[in-house]
Amino acid sequence: MEGFGVSLAFWILTGVTLVAALGVLASRNLLHAVLFLILLFVGMAGYFVLLSADFLAMAQVIIYVGAIAVLVLFAVLLTPRAGRNNGETRMFLPALLLCGTLLAIILFVITDTNWAVADESPSVTAADLGEALLSRWVLPFELASVLLTVALVGSIMLVRSREEEAEDAV
């Protein structure tokens, strides 16, 4: 996609995404941070649309905004002292160190990689993705589903109370 509208959309999206990212860092209220994170996810979906990856954009919104963000909200609400001032924490320095290292690595990879530039944008439809997932990449796909099932069963096992187990044993 090219043209004035697309460039404008790109810069608006960049602005929104950067503001949201800064908001996640700067907001003292944990719930505000989560909401900024959701805005960030929506901005990322916008980038996918600009890259002509419709399916990815929609999947991004459904999975990240619709499911993961909601789970994060739940987690924040169930966290004791979630409403405290988020600025005072002992993890500040280690977190800064970790993020700085990560940023350095990513920047290094970005500048170091020899990016292949295609002349025309490839058109990948949802059907193509599905076929690729179920033919060439079927093993990782199935592994991921097994992993998810294990996680599901594991989480149920973790939260079961002793009384429930005693009931089932009878």
């Binding site: 929609m58 499911a67 909601v70 909200l73 949802a126």
Partner: protein, 421 residues
């Protein structure tokens, strides 16, 4: 060619897409760069308001719903303002705008202010992909069904914002209920839609309509389980009354709307109807043939067929709202996880088998009629069998009136002897 069939000419008002496309082309030539987008927005707003928003939102959505529910409950409904009370929505809107929008001292002001605004935007966005006619679709994107599901998951976050921002425990209860319910009901909904997508082989809404038009069958006959699941899940996610545990007045005041007043509340109320109409339009497009009506769309403007169908679908929402009692939250959750999810999975397996058979045997297209019969029977059998397996028992010959706790929405089979007589 027949003289009365719909053509692509711009003066053929039976498909407004032709006219608007032509108009925009002309304007684009005549006007300086970019101005046409502004004009298109204005023209589109005026036109859609006249032919869709006004009749749907105000007359069917607000007035029709109150009037019909009034009739169902043996009362008159609004009948004072204007002829037959038709101006009641207008009077309500004026009242709401004059009302003071209070903000509690301890509330999160920014979020509370933002929530109604963010609630409105996705509703408008939803209609972008709905095809009103052969050429009357704003964005015929190839992933329209996913787009609809994605955008309709945003208002959940907004209701959460609203509920949390009040700093009021009833609001927070409502918000948590919305979120929990949406997680539960999104799953069977998506699984049901997956069955539809497997059959049509396309994620585009216009493609779904054309598929149904070509095979002369509506997907509701091919996918009765998916249709029922869609209706129930949409009803639950929209907080319509039989499932409106998020704003259950008798339990938690008004849920996430407790502290809202004036036009902020009005936006939530109006857009609840807007979302219901959007869900109705989506259901009509996917399951009921969209703008087609077995050949009649060649004569009657397709957009009139579509709007009429949408309003009839919306009537189903009104009907269930007027007649069914509200469910408790645990009943609703149990229903989603233990009843709808297994049935949706069963439906998916059935569809996959049929679709595979269709492709492998290179069967004729008329095989869909056989599939329709099989699926309707399978749907009835699955619903009956699974509810019996779970312990729900239909009461075939009630001899005397009894309390709900006695007859039971849920009667375990082993203790069933007492409840049945």
């Amino acid at each position: 060619m027949h003289p009365f069939l719909i053509t692509d000419n711009w003066y053929d008002l039976r498909d407004l897409g032709n006219l608007s496309g032509r108009l925009l082309e002309l304007l684009d030539d005549a006007l300086p760069f970019g101005l046409v987008y502004v004009l298109a927005a204005l023209i589109g707003f005026a036109a859609s308001f006249l032919i869709f928003v006004l009749p749907s939102q105000l007359i069917v959505g607000v007035y029709g719903e109150r009037k019909l529910i009034g009739r169902i409950q043996s009362r008159y409904g609004p009948n004072r303002v204007g002829p037959f009370g038709l101006l009641q929505p207008v009077a309500d809107a004026i009242k709401l705008m004059q009302k003071e929008a209070l903000t509690p001292k301890t509330a999160d002001r920014a979020l509370m202010y933002l929530a109604p605004i963010v609630f409105v935007a996705p509703c408008v966005l939803l209609f972008a992909v709905i095809p009103f006619g052969p050429n009357m679709v704003f964005a015929d994107i190839p992933v329209a069904i996913l787009y609809f599901l994605a955008v309709s998951s945003i208002p959940v976050l907004t209701t959460f914002m609203a509920g949390w921002s009040h700093n009021n425990k009833y609001s927070l209860f409502g918000a948590m209920r919305v979120v929990a319910m949406t997680i539960s009901y999104e799953l069977p909904l998506v699984l049901g839609m997956l069955g539809v997508v497997l059959f049509t082989g396309t994620l585009a809404l216009q493609g779904t309509v054309l598929w149904q038009k070509e095979l002369d069958i509506w997907l509701v006959f091919l996918q009765p389980i998916a249709f029922a699941i869609f209706f129930i899940s949409a009803s639950a996610e929209l907080n319509r009354t039989p499932t409106d545990i998020a704003e259950a007045e008798s339990e938690i005041v008004a849920g996430y709307l407790t502290e809202y007043s004036g036009m902020k509340w009005g936006l939530f109320y109006g857009m609840d109807i807007g979302y219901a109409i959007a869900a109705a339009a989506f259901g009509v497009t996917v399951f009921l043939g969209g703008w087609t009506l077995f050949g009649l769309e060649k004569w009657v403007p397709p957009w009139i067929i579509f709007i009429g169908k949408t309003h009839l679908f919306y009537f189903l929402f009104i009907w269930t709202r007027g007649t069914l009692p509200r469910l408790r939250i645990d009943q609703l959750m149990t229903f989603a996880w233990k009843f709808m999810l297994p049935i949706a999975l069963l439906n998916l397996a059935l569809v996959a088998t049929e679709r595979m058979f269709w492709i492998e045997q290179e069967a004729d297209d008329s095989i869909v009629y056989a599939f329709a019969i099989i699926n309707i029977i399978a749907a009835a059998a699955a619903v009956y069998g699974w509810s019996r397996a779970l312990g729900y028992r239909p009461e075939e010959t009630p001899l005397r009136p009894r309390l709900v706790s006695e007859a039971g929405g849920f009667v375990p089979l082993e203790s069933g002897g007492e409840g049945a007589t």
